[in-house]
Amino acid sequence: MMDACGIDSPEALFAHLPEAVRIKRPLDLPAGISEYEIVEYFRQRAAENGIGYSSFLGAGVYRHFRPVLVDAVVSRGEFLTSYTPYQAEISQGTLTAIFEFQTMICQLTGMDVANASMYDGSTALPEAVLMAARVTGKRRALVARSVHPEYRETLRTYARNAGLQVEEFDYGPESGTIQLEDLDRKMDGATAAVVVQSPNFFGIVDQVKAAGEIAHRAGALLILMFTEAVSLGILEPQPEADIVAGELQSFAISPSYGGPYAGIIATREKFMRQMPGRLVGQTTDSRGNRAFCLTLSTREQHIRRERATSNICTNQALIALMATVFMTVYGKQGLRELAEQNLAKAHYLAGRLKPRFSGGFFNEIAVRLEGRTPEQGNKALLKKKIIGGLPLGRFYPELADSMLLCATEMSRRADMDALAEVLS
């Protein structure tokens, strides 16, 4: 090769770099290690995390069983090691799967179109708000305080620099659902979007319809967020929503200390061209066979550059495929049954504790501890090898006496009993 290149050392390939930019020493990194040592290194890190705990954490990240088919499919090199499917003729596998993904998200949310994924739920929120701003030509968003706190923080980062004004409205201290009066009072004609989450951060099914009526009366769009996708198996899709944005982590995506997950944005057909992110469409090949390809790319950064609907390029294709396989495995009947199991487990747990709010909940519940703080409760639980709930005071100072617990189909009755015994 070097002969062909006319050089006698590969170093000659770098001879044209200015001397000032070259590093004059080896990188200060150890020599490479073997496969066995790599596996061992990460096994040790995993052990440092603590092993053998049962957990009742939710708050946007949920412990659901991952059907074995999911890893069987996504481990196939054809899916794992392929690029973004720009070359449709040799990417029909990925393209077809994304088309199915888009369809399933529409079926679950009741929307007309869904994109091929966003990074996660938290970034789907600012993308949805920016989209609403493009649709309405307005620059203000009203966001429920019961939307995931870290999602709201993410929105603030984007908003501050994109010239969006973000304000929040409160939840009812008894119900845990949004305060319609507060929303109504803060609503004005300059508002692009009202954002609510259901089930909300406290696990409660929120008043989406009423929020939608208030938003629409003032000419704003309603953005409906979700963090617990399994709830879609039991909750009625909301025709009031103009944009549905959410997180699919519950669909066979490992908690993995916070990512990678997959977000989605779904909407009405009339807003299709303002959507961010990749879209797959159906067409035909030159022989007339059904085929799929990436489409409406004139919205995207590689064509439209600074006038694109978003700067997103790489998305979460393989993670979205995990969710697609998950939805396929559970199917129409299974997703409902899974949701019903989650509902039953959380209600069993709640029955043994003191719920903080009166609103109807899915699989998460805010509970008030008596005589001790949530932190103290968690400390007592850890002694029994139980990771308790998220102390809510971290995000809501007024809820410093409460923690957020989650039960899923993986929560065993015996573990819930053990938790309740310590906390009650």
């Binding site: 080896p26 096994r43 990417s91 200390y257 489409t295 550059r305 694109a308 997703l335």
Partner: protein
């Protein structure tokens, strides 16, 4: 002659919704060990849905066959060379997949107590330190989800520092050879974009830069090596010009595979850059993601990094949320941890010397392709190539054959196409990046295919224009797809 591949039958497969039949199931759930709950009573009847209309019902074997059949319609790195320029399609080591699925890591919840997350935090701290050493920068955030979000983070950091100095300024300069994400990012960060022309060598025009950098300019976003695969040799002077005028230098690190162990952005004046772990550091592209886009910065930008930050607290790691000057979060939690684990595994496997060797091999491979294809394809810029080489279709265009046609014909020869028609400054670009993954036999097979196609263009251009012939799907009608969008399946 086509020697690398021959056709074999691939299975037809309907969409899931078309092969669904009522009552089939692929799932099992344990028996419920608590009393069932009436959903309508618990949630309100108006909130409980009817059956999910159209959702598929298939058996387990139908499910696995469905996705396996689809998978066979894809090309992948595991099949062979994937010469997409600027995409760095290198081998994705399988040990990375194994370690990312280690139970205690894969099931770690982001809110579990810090005392029970030390392994995750140590993993991240180690990766931060290594990436700082590789880039020659002072601090690293692992929070950004992918390259484009890394860019946004970097520009917001620059904006925050300039705001603190009293003036965030108005414009970001972007060379005309840049990736589309650069101008899109600048716009989302609230900046106007000024596209600046490259000089005759395809490089930054430093003499023009001196004039263009006004008091309105916040930063220049530059890819180095640029999208022609050429090292910006005047980068140090460019940085000096920017810094002298109070502006900053942002580097798009998409092409870091040309520099690791050879040159460090921190040593040539870069203030902030992002890395694409799914390019340089081997994490799989997965058909379009997930990625991870860590951002490395100089000390002056460190106070503004997204919160939370890792900090040492005695013998333990802790998350520091009390970061008053932080730009805030760019996403929930701490980053795409699973991707970070894979990248660290790659780095540990290579070690310092191995990483440098990979760079050298990647650059050697690109130069070998350049030398051998130069007699057949037009080389619009003769500047030395780093990890990729860009040809144009100038010699094929008179015969009516364009870069996109050559790319499609390459499929018949058993290769994924190179990057087509990018960078935009080259008319009819063929952008080729082999990476270090390929050995001589695969490179030679690719080169032979490209030479053979160049000859076909001369003898039978129509053959090339209608390619591919060997795929189960022939040329796809993208125009109709965009004109009459069908974005979901519906029952007839």
């Amino acid at each position: 002659m086509i020697t690398k591949v021959r056709t074999h039958p691939s299975q037809n497969e309907a969409l899931l919704f078309e092969r669904s039949s009522p009552g089939k199931k692929a799932y099992q759930l344990p028996d419920l060990d608590v009393p069932p709950v009436d959903a309508a009573a618990a949630l309100g009847a108006e909130n409980v849905r009817a059956a999910i209309d159209g959702f598929a019902e298939v058996s387990e074997v139908e499910a696995i066959r469905h996705f396996t059949r689809l998978s066979t319609w894809n090309y992948a790195i595991d099949h062979g060379m994937y010469p997409l320029g600027s995409c760095t399609m290198k081998y994705n080591p399988r040990v990375n997949e194994v370690v990312a699925r280690t139970d205690g890591l894969a099931w770690a919840h982001p809110y579990q107590p810090e005392a029970l997350a030390q392994g995750c935090m140590e993993t991240m701290a180690r990766l931060e330190a290594i990436l700082a050493e590789i880039t020659g920068m002072d601090a690293v955030t692992l929070q950004p989800s992918a390259g484009a979000q890394g860019e946004l983070t970097g520009i917001l950091l620059i904006r925050a520092l300039l705001e603190k100095r009293g003036d965030p300024r108005k414009k970001i300069l972007v060379p005309d050879s840049a990736h589309g994400t650069n101008p899109a990012t600048a716009a989302i960060a609230g900046y106007a974009v000024e596209n600046i022309p490259s000089n005759a060598a395809g490089l930054l025009d430093v003499s023009a830069l001196d004039r263009i950098v006004t008091k309105d300019v916040a930063a220049l976003m530059v890819t180095n090596p640029n999208t022609l695969g050429v090292f910006e040799e005047n980068i140090v002077q460019a940085a000096e010009i920017l810094h002298a005028k109070g502006a900053m230098l942002y580097m798009d690190g998409a092409n870091m595979n040309a520099l690791v162990g050879i040159a460090r952005p921190g040593d040539f004046g870069v203030d902030a850059l992002h890395l694409n772990l799914h390019k340089t550091f081997s994490t799989p592209h997965g058909g379009g993601g997930p990625g991870a886009g860590p951002v490395a910065v100089k000390t002056a930008l460190e106070p503004f990094l997204p919160a939370p930050r890792l900090k040492r607290s005695g013998k333990k790691w802790a998350w520091d949320y009390n970061r008053k000057r932080s730009i805030g979060r760019v996403r929930a939690f701490y980053g795409n941890f699973g991707v970070l684990v894979r990248a660290l595994a790659y780095i540990l496997a290579h070690g310092g010397p191995g990483l440098r060797n990979a760079t050298v091999d990647a650059v050697l491979n690109a130069n070998y392709i350049r030398k051998r294809l130069e007699p057949y394809y037009d080389l619009p810029y003769s500047s030395p190539s780093m990890h990729e080489v860009v040809f144009s279709d100038a010699r094929q265009e008179p015969g009516g054959v364009r870069t996109g046609d050559i790319a499609k014909r390459l499929i018949d020869y058993g290769f994924h196409p190179y990057t087509v028609s990018f960078p935009l400054i080259v008319h009819g670009a063929l952008m080729i990046e082999p990476t270090e993954t390929e050995g001589v036999p695969e490179l030679d097979a690719f080169i032979d295919a490209m030479i053979s196609i160049a000859k076909e263009v001369e003898t039978d251009p129509q053959l090339v224009k209608e390619a591919p012939y060997s795929t189960r799907t022939s040329r796809v009608d993208e125009v109709t797809a965009a004109r009459k969008p069908v974005l979901r399946w519906k029952p007839n």
